[in-house]
Subunit: 406 residues, 2 copies
């Protein structure tokens, strides 16, 4: 059984709409991102009948009664139920005794975005759509292409020229078409929006499609369950468009609404210093001012985040915070993560750890507060990014040439 | 409870040794690969007490009573229990109605090799070793580096110069040292062997270390369980050193020994035409003749396979077969896999599907025989490999430049 949607509420003007009527608020336009609301009494009853922890499905669909769709069963590749780790050696290196990592690098397309695309693809397939499209810096696109292919849905993908080549070829292998747009992510987004209108494709653009955040919720639902039905003190999230962090907040709020918990976590948003419009808006307690983004962490190089209102609202409601980290700090965190845990993260995904480290140093996160860092995407998506931060020992075929590196 | 080892038997001379005494047969040298034998009555009793299917562990350690080690619990990253898929659209494309894919791309380091490294790392940690080493075309190495890092074991890795850059950087992020050896995989293997002897590191070289095949068994143990306790008609395996296919055969033979099943599958070995010493030895019913390997599928570019005896024995005992596929056929299979299922496989991993397709065309595999193709590693490991086989649509920022690609 899926959750019953009672309405879609605009995050800007708070007007409410029936499900299916609109993708964004008709009064506010693309600024008016919608938020999905459910019949929470019904959800509560469902959770009473089948409590969390007693469910057999080893994927995001174990939470079907908290989602707008129940998925497509074994037709779609398996998404979610990723490991939650606690490596004491990493905590020690950071001077932090309660650090957890949520490893979303092992999703089908190797990023957290699979959680959102799974919802989009399932809803599109349920209504008999033949094609779906999105613009993306890479991960949303590859997850859409990968999951669409698994259920025979055609995917049309718009990416900026700066996309790392591994992401490009992953896409090219799986998508119906990959359009590499001469310009930035914002240009790709605008062109995708026009093309979607012109050809009537389903819209998977994350901030625009209100159902996608619902998929992202599942990451924190898993964290809650995997921690033994406890809410961490902090959830640390790398932020681009602002959709992932919004989804995590919605998960915990809904767990509270249905009576699973009374606690809520604080959120820490992490952005790259070269592209930190949400960090700055949070610090200035102001609306977002778009910037020209510049960072090697391409998955969070979003100068004009579409979902900044939801993200800032989540940060403020949670009593959270936001920090910027330099590209150097991100690269250092990526290598620390690799060496101490074997998790190979793309720069944007390593940014979470870099931000957590900074927050501990700043005293924002106390060293004994339970912090969960989302590792949002695999380093295999963009391996060249750390080429200058690691060492390869070139040798001949003799022991002496090995010995000199030891 | 782990399985009790009763002896190590040489695959060349059939002499038997006590566990722990030797890594290879002292009479036959490196030609004398050892095979692990267990107390099967004890294994049978254990399976009676706790049948397959009633186990909660969602990793290879659910089969601890069929393995030489029970693992390190939550200290190590989660390996195994990967999905088994059946996508009807792929079967239709191949004219094959009972095709399954075992998706080992979602292991921690994105390849099947994690199953073997998990055993090596657990056994090394259990005996208090500080360091472990291997030579590898890439995947064995990255799995060793990744899993070692997660349990604070130092890893020393030897790779050939031809290693794809994504694999190189994944290694460099996680390993203690990565030695890029001037030469081929064979040169890297020889240098690693010398260094292991010189510095007393644990040896993870697959053909040499008899326990690694035990980890690879778990892939077929999962297949058996995921198919509802049935043995497929065929298991299709890309072959390099010959260790993976040997492991699959051992899994099914042991399931038969302990009385789980009476059936055994037939094995299909797939190699690239540019490097097919095992295919040729099988066809000629002869011993292996080493070759100069030449294929873009780097994970199976092994001209002098160390485990050819075990591999050929498995093929012959199973009544199986062996086929070669061209690099073009592999690339085509990689794109077919992506477009029809969303699985992005590296060339060596796509070789399995290419081989299955050929075997169906040749009538070796009947169109209604149940075939499981092992998808052994992620395409993100070597995305450039398919650069010339896929299309990227370059566009401006206007709809017209999109339309011309539709």
């Amino acid at each position: 059984m899926t959750a019953e949607i009672t309405g879609l509420v605009c995050v800007k003007c708070a007007r409410s709409y029936h499900a299916g009527d609109h993708l964004v608020c008709p009064h506010c336009g693309v600024e008016g991102i919608l938020d999905v609301e459910y019949d929470y009494d019904r959800m509560k009853a469902s959770l009473r009948r089948e409590p969390l922890g007693r469910r057999e499905d080893l994927s995001i669909w174990r939470y079907a009664d908290m989602l707008p769709t129940g998925g497509l069963g074994s037709r779609m590749r398996r998404v979610g139920w990723t490991p939650l780790y606690s490596f004491s050696q990493l905590g020690s290196a950071l001077g932090h005794s309660a650090l957890f990592l949520k490893d979303d690098t092992v999703n089908p397309s190797a990023s957290l975005k699979d959680r959102a695309s799974a919802i989009a693809v399932a809803m599109a397939a349920e209504k008999g759509a033949g094609a779906i499209a999105c613009a993306s810096t890479g991960n949303a696109a590859s997850s859409l292409a990968v999951l669409s292919a698994s259920v025979e849905l055609r995917s049309y993908i718009f990416v900026p020229q700066t996309i790392p080549r591994p992401k490009l070829f992953q896409l090219a292998a799986c998508a119906e078409r990959v359009f590499r747009v001469q310009g930035t992510y914002e240009d790709a987004f605008d062109l995708a929006t026009k093309a979607i209108a012109a050809w009537g494709w389903e819209n998977r653009n994350c901030a625009i499609n209100p159902y996608l955040v619902e998929g992202k919720k599942t990451c924190s639902l898993e964290v809650y369950e995997q921690m033994g039905y406890r809410v961490p003190d902090w959830v640390v999230v790398p932020v681009g468009d602002g959709c992932i962090i919004s989804g995590q907040w919605k998960a915990f709020k809904e767990l509270k609404i249905v009576g699973e918990t009374t606690a809520l976590p604080r959120l820490l948003a992490v952005q790259a210093d070269g592209c930190r419009p949400i960090v700055d808006a949070f610090a200035n307690d102001a609306d977002l001012v778009p910037v020209e983004g510049n960072t090697f962490a391409d998955s969070i190089r979003v100068g004009k985040p579409r979902n900044w209102r939801k993200a800032l609202k989540a940060l403020r409601e949670s009593g959270g915070s936001a920090v910027g980290v330099s590209d150097g700090e991100i690269a250092e965190a990526a290598v620390l993560l690799g060496r101490k845990t074997g998790l190979f993260a793309e720069p944007a995904a390593a940014a979470g750890l870099a931000g957590c480290r900074k927050a501990v140093e700043l005293g924002l996160i106390k060293s004994d507060e339970v912090a969960v860092v989302l590792v949002t995407g695999s380093g295999l998506k963009d391996p060249e990014a750390i080429a200058n931060s690691v060492r390869v020992c070139d040798t001949g075929r003799d022991l002496e040439s090995v010995a000199k590196w030891l």
